[in-house]
Amino acid sequence: MYTPLSLWLIISSIGLATYAMRLVFVVAPSLQQMPPPVRRALRYVPAAALAALIVPELVVLSEGVQAVLLNERLLAGTLAAAVAWRTRNVPLTIAVGMGSLWLLQALFSL
């Protein structure tokens, strides 16, 4: 489907663009003179961007409330979030999340 050359082109383009996006504000001082509301809004980038990446992985919109809420990924993710909230412990969060997903998958397949 793709020649190796076209794949190399694809990943170099993505890599270059990604580097440029990480770089732009750091090396362009004129861009750092941002209006105060923009500067304050940027403080919410980590919370907003991470949540936007997480939620579509946990919730699958399907027919019926029960099917949405009894999704094993949503349940395991919620449990992991509770652990992260209480302990701030990354390995424990991942361990509890994976463990409860396996447990729920086993239960739901009974």
Partner: protein, 243 residues
């Protein structure tokens, strides 16, 4: 200088817990790229060059679906647009550095390194002078482990049963990073709004939903902030809430 080494090693140590999520994440990517038919060398090179987990996984999925190359590039770039926001928020802490640092450090600032770096920069108890060594330590160890786990995914990924749901380590890593970032009501509101919108907009083309949801979440955070947004806002007498 001892302080530089200290900061570097402290950055490495701060990144270690996050690696537990990055290792399965990298393996999932390596396995996904193999099954998409991407050659081993290119799969590995993408981890070195692009260094952005979610965009790499999506690229593998799109290549597998035989999406036109230009659409693959656009989608991955749109998914990575949040790095512009990362760049803008970390820039004020980096602009005093020599060019080699200003051009080098941003290359390492993917999600997991950025979050660790930002929480160090916003910690005012530590002097700013050598903080960039901390960021270098965190970024380099993540880059190294990311590449090693990609290689592991290439080698043994196909042998991992799908029933293990190793891909679930990806959202779990983000969950572990998100919760400490929810410091107040405003950031909680920003996350809730972005999460709900990302779900509603999940069917938008080219993964645009994630970017739109992030921007909307930022606006919600601003609106919920306790302070008035402009000094010119009319002052209204209202009961003060005291915690």
């Amino acid at each position: 200088m001892n302080t530089r080494r200290n900061q570097f090693l402290r950055g490495v140590r701060a990144e270690l817990p996050v690696l537990m999520g990055a290792i399965p994440f990298g393996m999932v990517y390596g396995a996904a790229a193999t099954s998409a038919g991407i050659p081993v060398s290119i799969t590995q090179a993408m981890s070195s060059i692009v260094f952005a987990g979610s965009a790499q996984v999506v690229t593998a999925q799109l290549v597998q679906a035989a999406t036109p190359g230009i659409v693959v590039v656009l989608t991955a770039c749109l998914l990575n647009l949040r790095h512009i926001l990362y760049s803008a928020s970390i820039a004020p802490y980096l602009h005093h550095l020599p060019a080699v640092w200003r051009y080098g450090l941003p290359y390492l600032l993917t999600d997991e390194a950025y979050v660790v770096a930002m929480s160090h920069y916003t910690n005012e108890r530590v002097d700013l002078q050598y903080k960039h060594w901390y960021v270098l330590g965190a970024g380099l160890i993540l880059w190294l482990v990311w590449n090693l786990s990609t290689a592991a995914g290439l080698l043994i990924g196909a042998a991992i049963p799908p029933a293990w749901s190793l891909d679930f380590a990806i959202p779990l890593t983000f969950i572990a990073l998100l919760l400490p970032a929810l410091r107040d009501r405003a950031s909680l509101s920003a996350a809730l709004a972005a999460g709900i919108l990302a779900l509603v907009l999940a069917t938008m083309p080219l993964k645009l939903g994630i970017l739109s949801a992030t921007l909307a979440g930022m606006v919600v955070g601003l609106l919920v902030e306790p302070r008035p947004t402009t000094p010119l806002a009319p002052i209204q007498p209202q009961p003060q809430e005291r915690p």
